[in-house]
């Protein structure tokens, strides 16, 4: 079974090619079904591989399938090779799993769209790239996927490219990602010059074996982190993610919540030995950036009115949590949170999509409310997702968030505090969203009448293709925590499973105060979550306190606008200056020479006056000069 690893990316690729060739013929809904089938079957293969791995001892859970030699030059040998080990398969599992669910969902959501088949074309291509990213045996194959998902997210964000906002958002996403890619490329260069190979095994073993100087390792780690910041929307490069909501909601769910944005976390986990080999402050930097991003995004989410924007910022915030975990050395926790987050965030996005679909593409939460009656299933599942992300036990989010906070406390209490505040805010704004959308009085009737667009028919529940995934994901969000229960060693399934790849565990923080008092922390976490929920209910449902939504928060601390102001203002002016310099100075010099020659010609021309006597004079002058020279040579 392990040798069929290549099938995992191959199937979506096949789907992509088929739709590319016959997409127009297939049309709706067959194209969608095909795509879904491909992803699903790929999922099946992954499961098979997973079982196969499971059947092996921890040492043998590591299998490389080399397809062909890609870039062999001199000492550089890069193979197009896939690596099947617990980490990659974990990633592959939820990529293909959630992927196929979202495909299914999209069949319903994209119903009636003229570019229906093209949408699935991109989706399959994305799944393929994402799988290359996670399954890659070396940095370059990962980079192939890395850029591939970037390109696909560009296509999908600007899917409705006739909307200028969509087109701009897509471009913004790609270019911002490129900044990260730059970091990743430099990291690769460093790794190659330090180790002479790009394969994870080579680099990691070298790092673990202390064959990489700490400074080099630091360089690599930091550059990888730059790359991760770009992909995983961390400060200061997060700005593209909120705009990415311009894309169709399934895209937001798949790419900008569940899979792609987590690839930064994946990469750092993959390269964890290098992080270990580098200076200790690297971890602090990562953790700090993560924590700050989490808090920053959470504060923004509090004041958003667009249903998807709230989720977008919460995604950024949750990603911050994952980086906080990585920085604190809690790789398992990071992966754990990644998985659970994938579950409930995908759920929430799909739910919001369902709402938007039901509200006829209305996204402003101020025009919603009391939808739980009209959209029971959506409402129910959404509420589960809310509980999960808010960190209410026993839902998935609670367990993973708690573990992250545990490590954070062990590592740096200030960061823990930030994490806790963020958790509070998370519970708060998620509750706010649920209330605004599903409870309270319906604000969409009057709204519908005032613009009269579709006031005649009310919001409605979505078709089964859309609802089914919601249900499944809701289930996962409930039980997801079971992957890694802190009760005893045996319940920590994920940690055990990932052991071959990530060789550290809670043991690493054993002996710290946090470790011994982790139950206390657990309780604190619960209290925080609950108080957040309560506060929010008090404000939004009961109206006990007045609503606090400062403009500055609604404007995301004006960070985004400031950036665009700089890029569009001084930046653009500078570029224009360069272009002008090229035209005026560089080219001007060239043409200047031309005009100079002409001028000289015009000047010399005056000598050719046509007057014999001045000609005689010129000749005489020449003669005098010439003779003078000779005379001097003769006399002296």
């Amino acid at each position: 079974m392990l040798n069929l690893v290549w099938l995992i990316p191959a199937l979506p690729l096949a789907g992509f090619l088929l739709i590319l060739l016959f997409g127009r013929v297939l049309g709706e809904p067959r194209a969608g079904i095909l795509a879904t089938a491909m992803t699903a079957s790929s999922f099946v293969v992954v499961v098979g591989v997973y079982l196969d791995l499971l059947s092996r001892t921890a040492e043998e859970r590591h299998h490389v399938v080399t397809l062909f030699s890609w870039l062999p030059v001199g000492s550089l040998h890069v193979d197009m090779a896939l690596l099947a080990d617990p980490l990659s398969i974990t990633m592959a599992l939820f990529v293909t799993g959630i992927g196929s669910l979202i495909h299914l969902y999209a069949i319903g959501y994209m119903h009636g769209d003229p570019k229906f088949s093209k949408f699935f074309l991109y989706l399959n291509l994305f799944v393929f790239s994402m799988l290359m990213l996670v399954l890659g045996e070396n940095l370059l194959v990962t980079f192939l996927g890395w850029e591939g998902v970037g390109a696909c997210s560009y296509f999908l964000i600007s899917f409705w490219h006739t909307r200028d906002s969509a087109a701009t958002a897509g471009k913004k996403a790609f270019v911002t990602n490129r900044v990260g890619d730059w970091g990743m490329m430099v990291a690769m260069f460093l790794a190659f010059s330090a180790v002479g190979t790009l394969s994870y095994e080579g680099i990691n073993s070298a790092a673990a074996g202390g064959k990489i100087a700490a400074v080099t390792a630091t360089g690599i780690a930091m550059m990888l982190f730059v790359g991760a910041c770009g992909k995983s929307a961390q400060l200061p490069l997060y700005i593209w993610l909120p705009d990415a909501m311009e894309g169709p909601t399934p895209v937001s769910a798949l790419i900008h919540a569940a899979t792609m944005v987590t690839s930064g976390v994946f990469l750092l986990t993959r390269m964890s030995p290098v992080l270990h080999a580098s200076y200790p402050w690297v971890g602090d930097v990562i953790a700090t950036v993560g924590a700050l991003t989490a808090l920053f995004a959470a504060t923004i989410a509090v004041a958003q009115t667009d249903i998807k924007k709230v989720l977008a910022y919460s995604t950024v915030s949750q990603l911050g949590f994952m980086f906080l975990a990585i920085g604190s050395g809690a790789y398992v926790a990071a992966i754990f949170h990644m998985v659970t987050h994938a579950f409930f965030k995908a759920l929430l996005f799909l739910g919001s999509g369902s709402v938007i679909h039901g509200m006829h593409h209305e996204q402003d939460m101020r025009n919603m409310g009391a939808l739980r009656k009209l959209m029971p299933i959506t409402g129910f599942t959404f509420i589960i997702g809310w509980l999960a992300i808010a960190g209410i036990p026993p839902f998935a989010g609670f367990w993973s968030k708690d573990e992250v906070l545990l490590y954070a406390f062990a590592n740096n209490r200030l960061l823990w505090l930030i994490g806790v505040i963020t958790a509070l805010l998370t519970a708060y704004y998620m509750t706010r969203q649920v209330i605004m959308v599903f409870f309270g009085e319906a604000r969409w009737h009057d709204h519908a009448e005032e613009n009269g667009a579709h006031g005649d028919h009310a919001p409605h529940e979505s078709p089964w293709t859309m609802v089914a995934p919601l249900v499944v994901l809701a289930g996962l969000s409930i039980v997801g925590g079971a992957l890694q229960l802190p009760f005893s060693k045996s319940t920590k399934f994920l940690e055990h499973w990932l052991e071959p790849v990530i060789h550290d565990s809670e043991v690493s923080i054993s002996g710290t105060w946090a470790y011994s008092n982790k139950w206390l922390l657990l309780v604190i976490a619960i209290l925080i979550a609950v108080s957040g929920v309560v506060a929010s209910i008090a404000v939004y449902a009961k109206g006990k306190f007045k609503i606090i939504e400062p403009k500055i928060l609604a404007d995301a601390w004006r960070y985004d606008s400031a950036v665009s102001a700089i890029v569009g203002g001084p930046g653009r002016a500078a570029f224009g200056g360069v272009a002008a310099f090229d035209a005026k100075v560089v080219d001007g010099a060239v043409n200047g020479i031309g005009t100079e020659v002409r001028a000289a010609s015009g000047l010399l021309r005056k000598v050719q006056s046509g007057l014999v006597r001045s000609y005689a004079f010129v000749i005489g002058l020449g003669a005098v000069v010439l003779l003078a020279w000779f005379l001097l040579r003769g006399i002296l």
């Binding site: 007057l611 004079f617 005489g620 002058l621 003669a623 005098v624 005379l631 006399i635």
Partner: protein, 179 residues
């Protein structure tokens, strides 16, 4: 005595030359040219170049200048040229500088190397009463032995002159051609 001859001849030469340059009337200019030529002839004599002196008088004064005058008369251009104006700005001072410069340079060269000029040939025969034709003989020998080729080439030169007169003087369409 030689000094006296030199002074007189030099005076003739220079006066004539200046005349050529300054006389506004072509006829006068031609006349001053004659003066110069005679001066030169005198100097030839002073250097025992009697034959050349004769030829100088005959060819130059006798033929060339006459030809000049003939042309002047023929074309009726003996009107005085107005020398008071000079169309080309600064032409005269510049010309003066050039001329003086050339002379100065050559003079400097001559003076600086006058000592270096030593005898190289077998000498120039003195024409005396005993041998009045010494110069002619010597010249003739050299011309018709060593320089015979040059002498022959002069015939081509004259031929060119002849053709030239034909080309320039004949009426344009006078040539017999088939149309």
């Amino acid at each position: 005595m030689e000094l006296f001859v030199f002074v007189v001849a030099a005076a003739m030469v220079l006066v004539g030359a200046l005349g050529v340059v300054t006389r506004s009337n072509p006829v006068h200019a031609a006349m001053s040219l004659v003066l110069t030529l005679f001066g030169i002839a005198v100097m030839f004599v002073a250097h025992n170049a009697h034959f050349l002196a004769a030829v100088q008088v005959i060819v130059y004064a006798g033929a060339i200048v006459v030809l000049f005058l003939f042309v002047i008369m023929l074309l009726g251009v003996d009107r005085a040229e107005d020398l008071s104006v000079e169309p080309i700005t600064n032409q005269r001072p510049l010309a003066a500088i050039i001329g003086v410069g050339i002379s100065a340079i050559v003079i400097a060269a001559i003076v600086s190397s006058r000592a270096g000029l030593g005898a190289s040939g077998e000498g120039v025969n003195e024409t005396t009463l005993e041998s009045p034709d010494a110069n002619i003989r010597q010249l003739a020998r050299v011309i018709f032995s060593d320089n015979v080729f040059a002498f022959e080439i002069t015939s081509v030169l004259l031929l060119v002159a002849v053709i030239g007169t034909v080309v320039m003087a004949r009426k344009t369409k006078s040539v017999g051609t088939r149309k």
